[in-house]
Structure formats: C-alpha cells, structure tokens
C-alpha cells in the first residue's frame, strides 16, 4: 500500500510540475511576440505618450518575472485580467462558456462511453465476423473524417432534410434541462461519432489481448459459455486499460470540442478562443489555452493514476 501511495504521489507531483511549466510556456510565448503589444494594438499612428500610458495600464513597464508572478497569482485566484478587445473581465467572459462546454462534453460522454464499450465488447466477441470487419472499416473511416465533415453531414440529414434537430445550438442557462439537451443533440452526436471510434477500437484490442491468456482458455475448457467468460472473467481484468482509454478519449474530447462548437455556433470556450485568436486578443487566448491545457493534463493524470490504482499487482504487493 505504501508503494502505491508513493507512486500516486509521484504522478501527482509530476502533473503539477507539468502544469506549472505549461503556464510558463503560455506566458512566455506571448513575450516572444514580434514587436510591441501596445503598438500592435494602438496602431502605428499612436503617439509615444499614448503608447507609454497604455503600456503602464497593462503593466508592461514592470520586469517580466514580476508580471509572470502577478499573472499566476491572479489565475490561481480566478482573475485572468481584462480582454483587450472589449475591456471586459475575462473570468466573467469565460465562466458561463466553460459551463456550456462542460455540459456538451458531459452529454457526449454519457452517450459515447456505454456505446463504445458495448460495441467494443461485441466486436471482440464476434472477432473476424462480418460485424467485426464492418465496424473496423466504419471506425477507421470515422477516425479519418474531419469533425466538420461529420457535423455537416448530420446537419444535412437530421436537421435540413428530416427537421428533427436544430442546426444551431444556441443555449440559454435559463432553459429547462431537457430543452438544452435537445439543443446540443447534434454537436453531441458529432463528437460521439468521433470519440466512439477510438474508444471502441481500444476496448476491442484490450479484450482480445486478454482472451489469449491461459486462464481464459481454462475457463473455456471448463465449458463456460463465451458471453459469461467475457463478462465475468475477461472484463474485470480489462477494466484498467478500458478506464484508461475512456479518460484519454475524454481528454481528446477537450480538443475536438473547438471545431464542433464553431460549426454549431455553440457558445462555449472553444468558440471564444477561436474568436479571440482572430482578434489577436492575447489575454483571452492565454486564459483559454491555460484552461484547455489544464483540463487535458488533469485528465491524463487521472488516467495515469487510475491505471496504477486499478492494477492488482500493485494493490497486493508481496
């Protein structure tokens, strides 16, 4: 048990270190900006006095390490500074959108995870059958499709031709829950199609890998039915890799969400980030990248720790 705690603590420390270095990269990246940020925003015609005043208001006259510590202190306390484009408080700008993005990701996960596990199990169970090969080709294709292609196909068929779902998902926090779920249906389906392919293929691989081990052969020789072997014997041991895959796919979702939000004009964090990149609104881009990167790192860390914790060999040290 001691060894386990030590391993987990090690991973946690490593994760926090990575997070800190990433914050450093995101901050220093902006320092590399060719030219001066103040002249960049005010334009070439600004007088030196205005530029100097603007620099002071941004705190650019302070040395770099002080500004970094200031920024980091603010971020840790939920203060990301102000947007350059409209002067609004970034934390306020991000708050609702982050919730929207998390809502979309949760709905997607609730559809995708059970679906992927079921499909993966079935594909492993009926390996090399027509079903397995069809699924293989379908998933290989859907991995290769750009997200916006899937999104527009769904819009064309389910929204324009069938008229079942709205093609724009502009949600309001005031709406009742099921109304919001209905509105995010299409973006959630799109993301599901993208994520299920990865999860399903890895689930299948993990189960097939296990089915080759001797204790499964033993169970087969005892005459237990194939479905019972998979559910009772193989699945518990396949849990660790599968949990890993699920969490990593959720991490993948964090990135996939950006494009899908833009297609469906969904008021989420990805949309905000893309808009800000176009306007070169650097503080907002910094804040968004930091949130995305932190989520990604934390999910990876979770996958790492879960795979340690669910490993029976580490749980019962000799």
């Amino acid at each position: 048990m001691n060894k386990l705690a030590k391993l987990v603590a090690q991973r946690l420390a490593l994760g926090l270190l990575t997070l800190w270095i990433v914050s450093l990269i995101i901050f220093l990246g902006v320092e590399l900006l060719p030219g001066d940020i103040a002249t960049e925003i005010l334009g070439q015609t600004a007088t030196p006095e205005t530029v100097a005043a603007f620099r002071r208001s941004l705190g650019l006259d302070l040395p770099m390490h002080i500004r970094y510590l200031d920024w980091l202190w603010g971020v840790v306390h939920g203060d990301f500074g102000r947007s350059l484009a409209n002067g609004r408080d970034i934390a306020e700008l991000i708050g609702g959108r982050l919730l929207n993005t998390l809502f979309l990701a949760t709905v997607t996960a609730l559809i995708a995870v059970p679906l992927a596990l079921a499909l993966g199990l079935l594909a492993a169970l009926y390996r090399n059958s027509l079903f397995d090969r069809t699924i293989n080709i379908v998933t290989l294709s859907s991995i290769s499709f750009p997200e916006f292609f899937i999104a527009y196909i769904l819009i064309l068929f389910l929204s324009v031709q069938a008229g079942w779902f709205p093609s724009l998902s502009n949600v309001d926090p005031g709406e009742p829950l099921w109304e919001r779920v209905y509105r995010v249906a299409l973006p959630a389906f799109t993301l599901t199609l993208v994520v299920v392919a990865h999860m399903m293929r890895m689930t299948r691989a993990a189960i097939i890998n296990l089915l080759a081990s001797p204790y499964i052969e033993m169970a087969t020789l005892k005459g237990i039915s194939r479905s019972r072997i998979i559910v009772h014997h193989a699945l518990p041991n396949a849990l660790a890799p599968i949990i890993n895959v699920v969490v990593l796919s959720l991490a993948y979702l964090v990135v996939g969400v950006v494009v899908v939000e833009v297609v469906f004009v969904y008021p989420g964090l990805g949309q905000l980030m893309v808009d800000s990149v176009q306007k070169r609104d650097i503080p907002v881009v910094q804040a968004c990248s930091l949130i995305f990167a932190a989520t990604y790192i934390l999910l990876n860390l979770t996958a790492d720790i879960l795979s340690i914790v669910t490993n029976p060999r580490l749980l019962h040290p000799r």
Partner: protein, 312 residues
C-alpha cells in the same frame, strides 16, 4: 543439380512475415526488376481496401500535379454570380464570391495536400533527426530531449497551434513551421523508441569502434533498420497534419484567402447546407476520402510489416 544455389535467395511466398520482404529488398540491390516484381506481387495480394486506397492517392497526386491543365478557369478568378447552381458553364456551381467551385476544388488539392506534405516532411526531418540522435547518443542528450517533448505533448496540439498562431500571425510559412514542430514530438517518440532497440546491437557497436561519426551511425547504421515503422508513421502523421491544417483553415486561421483550400472552402460555403445544397460537403468529402485512403494503405502496410502497432 544445375539450377540450385544460383541467383538471389528464392522468395518463399509467406504472408505476414515481416523480415521476409525486408530481406529481399536488402539482398538484391542490383536487380531492381526483382524488387519491383516483389512489390507488384505483394500489391496483387493486397486486400481490396489497400488497392482502392492506393488508386485514390494516385488520382489525388495526379490532380494536384496537373491542376492548371485540368481547370477551366483561374484559381481565384471571379467568373460568375455568387452561389450559382450546378451545371451549365460551372460544373459544380460557383462559391460565395462567384469563383468556379470545380476549379477551386482542383487547386485545393494542390495547395492543401502540398502544404500538409511539406509540413509532414519537415516534422520528420526534425523529429526523426532528434529521435535518432537521442537513440545514438543516449545519456543526458536523450534525457533532455525526452523531457522537452513530454512538456510539449502535455498541451493539446490544436490549442497549442492556436496559441502560437496568435503570437506569430497566420501565414503559410509560419503555419508549416508551427505544425511541423508540434508534430515532430510524435515522430521523435517513435524514432527514439525503435532506434533504441537498434542502437544497442553489435553492428552499431562495431561501427562505433571503427570510429564512424555520429552522422554515419544515425543515417547508415540505425535508420535503414527502423525504416518500415517510420514509413507507416509517415502515412499516419500525414493524415493527422492534413486534418489539423484543414481544421485550422476551417476555423479561418490556417491557409488564408484567396488561396484555394478545402478547409476554408467548407467554411465559406457552409450557409448553402441550410438550403439542402451539398456543395460545401464536396471539399470536406475530398479531405475525408484522402485520409481514409491513406489509412487503408497504412493499415495494410502495418499488417505486412508485422503489425508493429495496430492502434493509433
């Protein structure tokens, strides 16, 4: 009695054995014909998915190379009204500015594939060289490179690309360099991992004792032995880079107008989809078809060269 033990080593027609193919290629360099014959035979035995994939790739390359000869109009020439329907003078109608859709699709092949290909090559140059160096030198160089790559990989690629494009602006050279650097991390991981296995072998040791330089050991001793996984990885990385650049262009942050490019073509004409017009799906479908084709070929290639990695 007379016809044995002459000529090159006979090729035992066994499928799925990785060393087999490699052996033939390595042992019979003077007879190029036999090498091509082996490849031809392998190809005939390939599954239908790989054949279709290869055919599609060849068509794309042909279209990209001969774009000016195949198109009726200029790349960004405004030739009609906005959003004209299919048929008549414009086979696939016109886009949001009245440019011929068919012409732009063809030129898009040239631009999008060309830029993605250059980016992948650059990524392999950087990542491959760094990975081979880490494998050949080991020690602190290896450790330092691996740690840097770990940190770079901790940030999702699309997000990192967006951040860097904000900082450096969006132009094609910047785009190529930024994505190549970000993607070289994956190449580095693979090149280092497979290079490590070769770097500890006796013939590398022999080359070291012989006094060969680092460049020779990297290029002539290790590289030829790790080529098959790297070639397969090239296909996969190309797909990934291609999709990433398309996504960025779709977001309006990649290849900038008036250059014809599939990602931005989808974005520009997306409004048509709400009228049930499938025109915006054509460039998106073109992207999807190429990535599927490359994936099918890579899948087959991986299967041939021992299925080093089944998953990606």
């Amino acid at each position: 009695m007379s016809d044995d033990a002459t000529g090159p080593v006979p090729h035992a027609p066994e499928r799925g054995i990785p060393e087999d193919e490699e052996l033939i290629i390595e042992q019979a360099p003077p007879e190029r014909r036999s090498r091509w014959a082996v490849m031809g035979r392998e190809f005939l035995r390939a599954p239908w998915t790989a054949k279709i994939g290869l055919a599609v790739i060849l068509v794309y390359v042909f279209v990209a190379l001969f774009a000016p000869l195949l198109t009726p109009y200029g790349e960004s020439e405004i030739v009609g009204m906005e959003f004209e329907p299919w048929g008549g003078a414009f086979m696939l109608g016109t886009d949001n500015l009245g440019r011929d859709m068919f012409t732009r699709l063809i030129y898009g092949a040239r631009n999008t594939i060309g830029i993605a290909f250059m980016t992948t090559c650059l990524a392999f140059l950087i990542g491959g060289a760094a990975g081979l160096m880490a494998a050949a030198v080991a020690g602190w160089v290896d450790q330092a490179l691996a740690r840097i790559v770990d940190v770079l990989m901790a940030i999702p690629q699309l997000i990192f690309a967006l951040l860097l494009l904000t900082i450096f602006g969006t132009s094609i050279p910047v785009l190529i360099i930024v994505i190549a650097v970000l993607d070289s991390t994956r190449v580095f991981r693979l090149a280092r991992a497979v290079g490590m296995n070769v770097a500890v072998m006796d013939f590398v040791e022999a080359a070291r004792l012989r006094g060969e330089g680092l460049g020779w050991i990297m290029g002539r001793e290790i590289l030829p032995n790790i080529l098959p996984p790297l070639v397969a990885e090239f296909g996969l990385r190309f797909c990934f880079v291609f999709l990433l650049i398309s996504a960025l262009s779709f977001l309006g942050l990649g290849i900038q107008p008036p250059t014809a490019d599939w990602g931005s073509m989808v974005r520009d004409n997306a409004t048509l989809i709400t009228y049930g017009d499938i025109t915006p799906l054509l460039p998106a479908g073109a992207i999807a078809l190429l990535t599927v084709a490359v994936n099918f070929v890579v899948d087959w290639f991986l299967h041939k060269t021992s299925g080093l990695r089944d998953e990606h």
